[in-house]
Every structure is written in structure tokens, then in C-alpha cells.
């Protein structure tokens, strides 16, 4: 199987039973699938589960994929649904104690949330703090805003594709992305609110 085949060709081959084509498709999209799952679920463990579920759902559903939309659009829709399912499962089970409210990413003495399975845990401390702040900000965002922001800024889908994934009008997508970004900017101490004064001014501001 040639490495340069586009998604459509790989999909057709995989639908015909070509294992290499299926493998190539999954490998090609795994990183972004995982990223979408990571950003929607907010932690590595749930992201890993959601990504696994998403890949399996892609394999199981491949025969029904008719190619009317881009394969990537379909895949990220599957990943989004898998992530939301994982979040619903998470809500039904007890959460290990992580006190986000008392964590100040700018305070090196503050308690830190660690995830042993996360390879990024060994990154420099400021990067970890940035990531944790982003996680916290995303976690504080309602799903209706978080999901379109993730699909735009992580999956790199355009407005029309996001509208297709979410089943809402494009105008709604634009509005939700803008509001989501604005709320995130405010939560991260960046501007985005009218006349907002960042609660935690960054060095750059």
C-alpha cells in the first residue's frame, strides 16, 4: 500500500478489507483524534479511553461511511461523540480528589494536579502550569462552547464542517466559537471580556 494515498483511496481500500489501508488511516488520524479527545475530556486517562473507543467506532462504522463528507470530518465527529460519552460515564463515577479551585498555576507552592500517565508531566514546570490552566479553563466551559472551539482550534475543521458535526447552523457555530474563545481568554487571564482586567496578569500584558 503506497504511503501517499489520500484518505478517500485508503477508505475504499479499507472497506474492501485492506488491513494496511485501515492501519494507515488510523495512524494518520490518531494524533488529532487523541488531541480532540484530550481537550474535550480534559484529562489523559479519559482521552485515552475515548480515543480507543473512537478508533473502534471508526472501524465498525467504516462500511457505512459513504464519502459524502470528508473522512476527517466524520472521524472527528466520532471522536467528539466518544469524548462526550466518556464525560457522561465520568460523571457517573466518583472522581479522584483534585482541588482545582485551590490550585494556582502561577504559584509554585500551590498543590499540583499530576497525571502519571501523561508524558507531558515531565515537561518544564511553566509549560505544565500553562497546560493545567488551559485544562481548567476548558473544563469550566460549557460543552456547547467547548466542543466547537476544540473542533476549530484542535481538529482544524472549518465552520461548515463543525456545523455538520454538531448539527447546528454555521451562524451558531461562529457565535459559539467566538463566545467560547472569549470566555477562555478571560479565564486564562487574557483579554476577551469587555474592559476586562485580567485577574492574573500575564507578563506579556
Amino acid at each position: 500500500m503506497a504511503a501517499a494515498l489520500d484518505d478517500r483511496s485508503l477508505v475504499l481500500a479499507a472497506q474492501a478489507g485492506d488491513r494496511d489501508a485501515m492501519d494507515q488511516l488510523l495512524r494518520r488520524h490518531f494524533d488529532r483524534i487523541h488531541a480532540v479527545c484530550r481537550r474535550i475530556t480534559g484529562n489523559e486517562a479519559d482521552a485515552a479511553d475515548a480515543a480507543q473507543e473512537a478508533l473502534i467506532a471508526v472501524v465498525r462504522g467504516l462500511q457505512r461511511f459513504d464519502g459524502r463528507s470528508a473522512f476527517s470530518t466524520w472521524v472527528y465527529r466520532v471522536a467528539t461523540n466518544a469524548s462526550l460519552d466518556e464525560l457522561r460515564r465520568r460523571r457517573r463515577r466518583p472522581i479522584a480528589s483534585v482541588d482545582r479551585d485551590h490550585h494556582d498555576p502561577h504559584d509554585d507552592h500551590a498543590p499540583r494536579r499530576t497525571e502519571a500517565a501523561d508524558p507531558a508531566a515531565e515537561r518544564p514546570i511553566d509549560m505544565v502550569a500553562e497546560r493545567m490552566a488551559t485544562d481548567a479553563a476548558l473544563a469550566g466551559l460549557a460543552e456547547e462552547f467547548r466542543v466547537p472551539v476544540v473542533l476549530r482550534d484542535v481538529a482544524d475543521l472549518d465552520y461548515a464542517e463543525i456545523a455538520e458535526v454538531l448539527g447546528v447552523p454555521i451562524g451558531t457555530v461562529k457565535s459559539r466559537i467566538a463566545r467560547g474563545r472569549g470566555m477562555l481568554a478571560g479565564a486564562l487571564g487574557r483579554t476577551g471580556n469587555r474592559g476586562a482586567t485580567p485577574e492574573r496578569p500575564t507578563g506579556a500584558s
Binding site: 479499507a14 478489507g17 488491513r19 485501515m22 492501519d23 488510523l26 495512524r27 490518531f30 494524533d31 487523541h34 488531541a35 484530550r38 481537550r39 489523559e44 482521552a47 485515552a48 480515543a51 480507543q52 478508533l55 473502534i56 471508526v58 472501524v59 465498525r60 500517565a117 501523561d118 508524558p119 507531558a120 515537561r123 500553562e130 497546560r131 490552566a133 488551559t134 476548558l138 472551539v149 476544540v150 476549530r152 482550534d153 484542535v154 465552520y159 461562529k174 457565535s175 466559537i177 467566538a178 463566545r179 474563545r181 472569549g182 470566555m183 477562555l184 481568554a185 478571560g186 486564562l188 487574557r190 483579554t191 476577551g192 471580556n193 469587555r194 474592559g195 476586562a196 506579556a204
Partner: protein, 281 residues
């Protein structure tokens, strides 16, 4: 949280996504406030897009799990290859099923008609002699019906005099299905037509192979080598010399017609293993 959002937030957000008209773009570029807002959103976007990568183990596990599912699906598809192949032809599977059913219905109807004709002739002749009820015309019609049904019964086992043991395929693919038979002469005539074996009638009625009572699981096992017809149709152990040659309706009771290749004795056996009738040659 959302009430404080900047009134031009959507404009700035669309600017970030390069989704502006020329007029909007000029407006954003002319405003330091809007330019700053776009910059803050860009910074936020970059933070969101900076996602920690999955560990090698997570990646490996996910891919391996999905490919295992793919392999399972392929294995299942391979097991169902004939159906799958037919299904891939537009309408192919439907047509094939329809044709098969239609053939069976036609074959059964023809067989019923033939048996009726044969039965009528037998009654008119007033004789139980099977030879006397097989008229030339009747034979021709009967063979035609039987041949048609036999062609429809894919893989039907040929019933020859050399058959020494009943086979599953003989009942799974009977030469003629659901033939209405109401009298012993008709059953014998049917046997002579569908199972015309060059058998040796070494024994008489006294040596008839008995189809055991199915309620006794040990019954028939002592026969050694007794054949058992599939459970989805009938689960009656038969003697090695018995062959099932047709599905019949014996006086409105669904049954199979069985013939001993040794004695030539013919029996109608219900699906619950009751011998409905025994006819000597």
C-alpha cells in the same frame, strides 16, 4: 460569564479564522482595540491547540485494539463470503432469495399436483400395486416435478441403491419438499419414483427397521452407526440402511419419507419421531 463579552468578539474571532469581508477586515485593522482582541484570542487558541501528545503505549494500545476489531470483522465477513458477495451486487441477494423461494413453491406445487394425479389414478384403478399406478403420462409429469425440485435443491444428495446410511443432506435438501401423501399406495409410489433403488428385499415386513421412540434417548443407539437427522428438522436416529428421500405431508402431518435400502420398506415418520405408517414393497 458571557455577559461581559466584548461586543466585537465574534468579529475578532472570525478575523482569527480569516472569515471576514474586506470591509470587516479594514475595520479590524483600523482599530487598536480590535487588533489587540484578535491577538488575545490568538494566544488563547494557541494554548488550546497545544495538546500533550499521547504516550506511545496509549497510541499502540488504541491502534492495536482497533485493528483487532477490524480483523474480527474481516473474519466474520469471510465466513459469510457467499452472502456477502451476493449482497455486493445491487439487489443480487434479494433476487437470489426470491428466485429460490419461487422455485421451491413451484416445485412443491407441481409435486402436489402430480401426487394428486397419481393418487387419483390409483384410486381409479382400484389397485395397491405401485406398478399399476405409474402411467406413462404420470411418470413423465412426476419426473418433471422431481427433476425441477432436485435442481432447486442445491447439493442434494443423490439417493442411490448403494446408500447404506441416511445422511443429513438428504433431509436438508430433499428431492421433493412437502408432498401431500394420504395413502400407503401413494407413499410407495413416491418411494419408487424418488428412491428407485436396486435394493435387495432380503427381509419382509418382519425385519422392518424400526424408527425408535425419540423420547428414549438410548433407543436406537444400540443399532450402531444409526444416522441422526439434524435437530433443526428432525432428531430421530435411523438405521444405517435407511434413507430419507422426501419431506411429505402425511394426512396433513409434516413428516419425512424414509426407505430401507435393505428391505425396501417405506415409512412416514413425523418430526417427533412417530412412525405414521409403514408400507412394505
Amino acid at each position: 460569564m458571557t455577559d461581559d463579552l466584548h461586543p466585537d468578539l465574534e468579529l475578532a474571532s472570525r478575523a482569527l479564522d480569516e472569515d471576514l469581508t474586506e470591509e470587516e477586515r479594514a475595520r479590524v485593522q483600523a482599530s487598536a482595540e480590535l487588533t489587540g482582541l484578535v491577538a488575545s484570542l490568538r494566544s488563547t487558541r494557541d494554548a488550546v491547540a497545544e495538546v500533550p501528545p499521547a504516550s506511545a503505549q496509549t497510541r499502540h494500545d488504541a491502534l492495536a485494539g482497533a485493528l483487532a476489531v477490524f480483523d474480527d470483522l474481516q473474519a466474520t465477513a469471510t465466513d459469510e463470503a457467499p452472502t456477502t458477495t451476493a449482497a455486493h451486487r445491487p439487489g443480487g441477494n434479494v433476487v437470489a432469495l426470491f428466485r429460490r423461494r419461487a422455485s421451491w413453491v413451484m416445485a412443491a406445487a407441481a409435486a402436489v399436483l402430480v401426487v394428486g394425479v397419481v393418487g387419483t389414478l390409483a384410486v381409479n384403478s382400484g389397485s395397491d400395486d405401485s406398478a399399476s399406478i405409474s402411467t406413462e403420462a404420470g411418470d413423465e409429469i412426476f419426473r418433471s416435478a422431481a427433476d425441477t425440485a432436485a435442481e432447486d435443491a442445491a447439493g442434494a444428495t443423490e439417493m442411490t441403491g448403494a446408500a447404506t446410511q441416511s445422511t443429513i443432506s438428504s433431509i436438508n435438501s430433499p428431492a421433493v419438499a412437502g408432498i401431500v401423501v394420504d395413502d400407503p399406495a401413494g407413499l410407495l409410489a413416491l418411494a419408487d419414483e424418488l428412491a428407485p433403488m436396486a435394493m435387495t428385499t432380503a427381509g419382509g415386513a418382519d425385519s422392518l427397521p424400526i424408527v425408535p421412540d425419540a423420547s428414549n434417548p438410548d433407543d436406537g443407539a444400540a443399532g450402531g452407526g444409526a444416522a441422526t437427522v439434524p435437530k433443526d428438522r428432525i432428531d430421530c436416529p435411523l438405521s444405517p440402511d435407511q434413507v430419507v428421500f422426501a419431506d411429505i405431508l402425511w394426512q396433513e402431518t409434516p413428516a419425512v419419507a424414509v426407505r430401507s435400502t435393505t428391505t425396501g420398506v417405506v415409512q412416514a415418520v413425523s418430526y417427533d419421531c412417530i412412525v405414521l405408517v409403514t408400507v412394505g414393497p
